[in-house]
Symmetry: C2
Subunit: 257 residues, 2 copies
C-alpha cells in the first residue's frame, strides 16, 4: 500500500470520546492521534468545566488537532455515518465475550476504512462505557494488561489503538471492492424493526426484550453487515410484523363471532 | 511459559527515566508500568522542582509504584547491573542506523531478562538522550510514528514499550541456559580498555577517537555480549597495549643509541 493510500485510510478512522473529564487527557490524545496519522476526533458531551488550558498544554504541537475536534450531544450522532464501530472496554462480561485485541481489530478497521468511516469509542475515565453505549457498537476491543492493574489511562488506551492501526497500515493490503457496509444509522433502523418484530410476534416477554436484543446485536455484528444485508433483514422483520398483524386481525374477527 | 515465569521475567525489566521534567508524566508512567506487569523504576537526576502532587494524581492506583522508584545521580549507576540496555530515540542518524522497533526488541529483552537485569532508557521530554548517554546503551529502539509528528509524550513511549514486552511475554519461549551476559559495568571496563589500546597503538588521532569508539560500540552490541566474550576482548586489548609499550621501549632504546 502506498503512503498516500494509508493516509487516506487513516483519515477515515474516527476517535470518539464519551464524556471525557480531564483536559490533560484530551490534549495528550490529540498528540497521540497525530503521532499515528489520525485526524478525526469526536467528543460526546464533554465535561463542562474541563480544564482547556491543560488540554492545550498537553497537546503540545498538536494544538490544531485540538481545535479541529467536533462535539456531539450523543454517541449515536457521533457515529451515525460509521460502519465498523468498536467500543473499548476493560471489563469482561456477558456482552463482552467476543472481544478483539487492538492488534486483531486493526486489519478489520483498515479494511472497512478504505471506503467507509470507522469509529473507535472510548468511555469516561472513571466509569467507562455504559451498556446502552456498548450496544451501539459493532465490535468490542480489550487492551491486554496485567491482571493486577487493568485500568488504563484514557490517553494511553487511545494511543495504543492508534499505534496498532498505524503499524498495521504499513503492511495492510486492501481487498477487492465489495457491497457498501451499513452505517450505524441504517443498522439502528434495522435493529428497531427487529425489536418491533419480537414484540409483535410475542417472541419474548418485556423483561427479556433488552437482553435478547443484546444477543441479536452480537450475532449480526460478528461479521460485517452490508447495506443489502440490512435491507434483507429489514424485509424479513417487516414481513413477520405484517403476519403478526394479520393474525391479530383474524383472531379478533374470530373472537367476536 | 507459566504466568509465574512471565512475572519473574517482567520484574527483571527496568524502566530508566533520565532527567524527567513533569510530575504528570512520572505518575502516568507508574500506572503504565503496572498495567504491563513492570515494577522496577529508576529515575536519573529528576528535575528538582518536579510537581509531586501532580505525579501522585496521575499515578492513580499505582501510588505504591511511585513511592518504590529509586533515584540515581547518573545513568551509568542506574544501569550498572544491567546486560541489555535499550535507549529510546525519536531521531535517526549516524549512530541510530541499527535501531529496533519495540516489537522487535521485546523478545530480545525477554530472553535476557530470564537471568539478567534489562533496562529501557527514556530521555528528557524536551531533548531526549544525549550522545554520551546513547553510547552507554547496547540497543536503540525507535517507536513507529507518523512522519508528520514523531515526538511522543514520554508516558506514551514508556507505555508502548511495556505493552510490547507484556504481550510478547505471553507467547515467549525462553531458550536453554547459556553463558551469563555481560552487564554495563563490565562492558564499560572492556570499552575503556579498547579505548586505551587505540591510543597506545596509535590507531587513531585524538579527534577521531570518540567517533571510532561509537562505531566499536555498535559492532560489539549487535549481538549479545557474554562475560567470557568480554574477557577475551579485554585480553586482546591488554596484549596489544603490552605490545605497544614494548615497541615504545625498544624504540626509545634505539633512539638513544
Amino acid at each position: 500500500m502506498t503512503a498516500e493510500t494509508a493516509n487516506h485510510i487513516l483519515k477515515n478512522i474516527r476517535i470518539v470520546l464519551v464524556n471525557p473529564l480531564f483536559g490533560g487527557n484530551l490534549g495528550s490524545i490529540c498528540r497521540a492521534m497525530n503521532n499515528n496519522g489520525l485526524t478525526d476526533l469526536a467528543v460526546v458531551d464533554p465535561c463542562s468545566d474541563m480544564d482547556m488550558d491543560e488540554a492545550r498544554r498537553f497537546s503540545c504541537n498538536a494544538r490544531a488537532q485540538l481545535e479541529a475536534r467536533r462535539e456531539f450531544a450523543t454517541l449515536e450522532e457521533a457515529i451515525a455515518d460509521c460502519t465498523v464501530v468498536a467500543a473499548t472496554s476493560a471489563r469482561t462480561g456477558f456482552y463482552r465475550d467476543t472481544s478483539y485485541t487492538p492488534r486483531e481489530f486493526a486489519p478489520i478497521a483498515l479494511e472497512s476504512a478504505k471506503d467507509h468511516k470507522v469509529a473507535i469509542v472510548f468511555g469516561r475515565e472513571d466509569k467507562g462505557l455504559f451498556n446502552e453505549e456498548l450496544a451501539l457498537c459493532s465490535h468490542i476491543i480489550q487492551i491486554p494488561s496485567s491482571d493486577l492493574y487493568t485500568s488504563l489511562n484514557l490517553s494511553h488506551a487511545v494511543y495504543l489503538c492508534g499505534y496498532e492501526i498505524f503499524t498495521a497500515a504499513s503492511v495492510f493490503q486492501p481487498s477487492e471492492e465489495t457491497a457498501p457496509e451499513a452505517d450505524t444509522a441504517l443498522r439502528e433502523r434495522m435493529f428497531r424493526m427487529w425489536r418491533e418484530m419480537m414484540i409483535e410476534t410475542q417472541f419474548v416477554h418485556d423483561q427479556k426484550l433488552d437482553h435478547m436484543m443484546m444477543g441479536l446485536r452480537r450475532i449480526f455484528n460478528r461479521g460485517k453487515l452490508t447495506v443489502p444485508d440490512c435491507k434483507i433483514l429489514m424485509g424479513l422483520a417487516k414481513q413477520s410484523i405484517w403476519v403478526a398483524n394479520q393474525w391479530k386481525t383474524e383472531k379478533a374477527k374470530n373472537d367476536s363471532h
